[in-house]
């Protein structure tokens, strides 16, 4: 019984820690030297600017809508609920002010694209980047 209980406690804590570590990393091309804080990242991903701080064209790409990393990024970095973000882009699109970032199917695909293009900025589950990209922030 004791063993069963400890197993349950252990499994639960592992489960919880897995949840707690669902962090996202914002990534750019290794040659990108821009200083990117949450505000700067937010401005790029909400279409308020098309440049990195200090210059250079910035093109945001996003994970697939509804994916865990997209939900995490929307809440923690953009400080919006998924519905608020949807309504925000509805306003931007139907006013001709902007279009949402292109959605990329997988983290691997995002890493591949960003490692080949210095203008891109995206996000992936923490620790899945590799050497082809530079992590500029973790949330």
């Amino acid at each position: 019984m004791k063993l069963l209980l400890s197993s349950i406690v252990l499994a639960s804590s592992l489960f919880l820690s897995a949840f707690a570590s669902a962090e996202v990393e914002v990534i750019v091309h290794p040659s990108n030297g821009a200083a990117l804080d949450q505000d700067a990242i937010q401005r790029i991903f909400l279409g308020k600017t098309r440049a990195f701080p200090g210059g250079g064209e910035a093109v945001a790409i996003s994970a697939k809508e509804g994916s865990p990393e997209e939900a995490e990024f929307t809440e923690k970095v953009l400080s919006k609920s998924p519905k608020q973000l949807k309504a925000y882009w509805a306003k931007m699109v139907f006013t001709g002010k902007g279009t949402p970032p292109r959605q990329i199917d997988s983290a691997a695909e995002m890493v591949k694209l960003i490692s080949a293009n210095p203008n891109l900025i995206g996000f992936i589950p923490a620790g899945t980047g590799g050497s082809g990209v530079k992590v500029v922030a973790k949330f």
């Binding site: 401005r43 308020k48 600017t49 098309r50 440049a51 064209e57 809508e65 998924p82 519905k83 949807k86 309504a87 509805a90 306003k91 699109v93 139907f94 006013t95 001709g96 002010k97 279009t99």
Partner: protein, 383 residues
Amino acid sequence: MQKRILLTLLASLFAMSHAMADVKLNGFASIVTGIDFEEDEQVEYNDRTVDNLQESKVALQWAADLGDGMRFVGQTMARGDAATGFQLNYDWAYFDFNIGNSSKLKFGRLRIPFYKYSDYLDVGYAYHWITPPESMYSLTFSNMDGIGFQQNFQALGMDHALNLAVGTYQGILILGEEEVQSSLENLIAINWTATIGDHEFTAAYAQADTYVPATSTAGLANAAPTSADDGDKVLINGDYGFFIGAGYKGSFGDLTVYSEYSIVEIKDSIFSDTSGGYIGVSYLVDDYTYHATYGIRKAEEKEYTSGNVDFGNGTSLNSTARFFGNGDSTTITIGVRKDIGMSTALKVDLDLYTEDRVQDALAASTSEEKKATVLKFAVETMF
């Protein structure tokens, strides 16, 4: 010369074929229906609300990316019409160019940046009401042909968006209950929005030389030439018209408060000085948004010194001006919106409308209070 034209044509065709690979389609639809419980048969209000599909609409926007920061955007929208079903119109059609990192230039048919919700007035999904308050959103036109410029910038710890548009409008204005052909020349509109956290401030100014031909409405045709006053002060013949508006929207957790106010005047004309606004609050509980709004609209009719002379048909200049004025009105709207999934909303609104105005241009007519109690239902979606 012919060679140059041919080259230009070929270049455009190339651009178009390139663009065809990059066309984005977006759309939205609103289906609205409702019922008025009052017996007053308040004509004007009923006209603007729903016992059919008058507020329903379906729109499709397509944006072709032409490369190098240039796009072509077209938006068609079909509105519900009691008599003819859905009527299709080209709402927008413009080229836009990115300039620098945070500016944009547009050429073509654009939205006039009057109100906070001007830009997405038709996209019901983007706000909680079924219809934005009539007291504020009472102008019958929203598009213009011309050039627009948008600029985003940061200053004083706030995000600012500046929207400037210059052009013309030709179409309908409302005088009394009548829709009259009109035109706005040398139209200039400026809209500024500042955002700090969950708080947004808006201010707008627009001006134009306003023309409504006297022949476009019997009231104006009668009133103008027979007036002992300066006819120029009656006719709407290139007069300076202006719009001034201001607004605020702020969220405090799940609670949001919002307000807007505007003034519209056309100097030296029979058009009344009008003002209107609203104040409201909404509260978010899970997928439900509960809201209440109080709106008010006032018209100060022009009065002419010798304006009480009977035209021979029971009307006079002053009674015509009074009728054109639309009187005063208040609207209380309470409602709830329920979000379903990520891109659909169901809405129920109850509008309690009261107006105090003359119902015709006869000099003997007095102001009457009329009411409408309208329950509306809507399904809004976007795709």
